[in-house]
Amino acid sequence: MADGVKPRVKVPKSASAGEAITLKTLISHPMESGQRKDSSGNAIPRSIINRFTCEFNGESVIDVTMEPAISTNPYFEFEATVPEAGEFKFTWYDDDGSVYEETKAIAIG
């Protein structure tokens, strides 16, 4: 596992039913592309997050397949519909098999 991986997500605390809200996510990760070389000229092996998903109460909002061209500390902004109160689940899948998860509840109000 890459060191110091920390997901951060920004979700409004409440929304009206059926409202479209903007979600912002950021995860600290070096996203080593496999193209860089270290000081002695050896290629640094690739180590990236290759997939990111967001679900609301088990239903998909977005599913992103990521390649090495995504910047360090991958950031995503997108929009979701909130049909009812519930929980957003954000999942990041690392090349090394690690899975990072974050959940955020949202109320209707």
Binding site: A20, I21, S33, Q35, R36, K37, E55, F56, E59, S60, V61, I62, D63, V64, T65, M66, E67, P68, A69, I70, S71, T72, P74, Y75, F76, E77, F78, E79, A80, T81, P83
Partner: protein, 139 residues
Amino acid sequence: MEFTRRETLAVGGAAALVAMLPKGAYAATTEEWIAEFTGGADMADAGIDLTAPEIAENGNTVPIEVSAEGASEILVLATGNPTPGVATFKFGPLAASQYASTRIRLAGTQDVVAIAKLADGSFAKASKTVKVTIGGCGG
């Protein structure tokens, strides 16, 4: 096996040709990505928006936005990178709009291409040239 002067030149020439190939190979790969995504279907010019800066000072983190109303998937490619793939966004039933914003790496000045698979199964393509002052592939 002994080389005559003529043979040596021929071998050297062939080696130089091979060394020059990768540039062409990148283009083929971009086309392969597109062919795999669209299955060789034609792409319309309308129906997708790609927002990227005209000039990016730092190729390590270039903000881009894609949106295509009703699209089920959007593929983003950086045609001038060592590997052209950037990301594929698949929108689920709860996506309020087919919009996404992220930050990408660009190795140098190049075209960024976005292709959307629209609701009716057709494809739309948008392309934007981004000038990069400092490349984002490390050294």
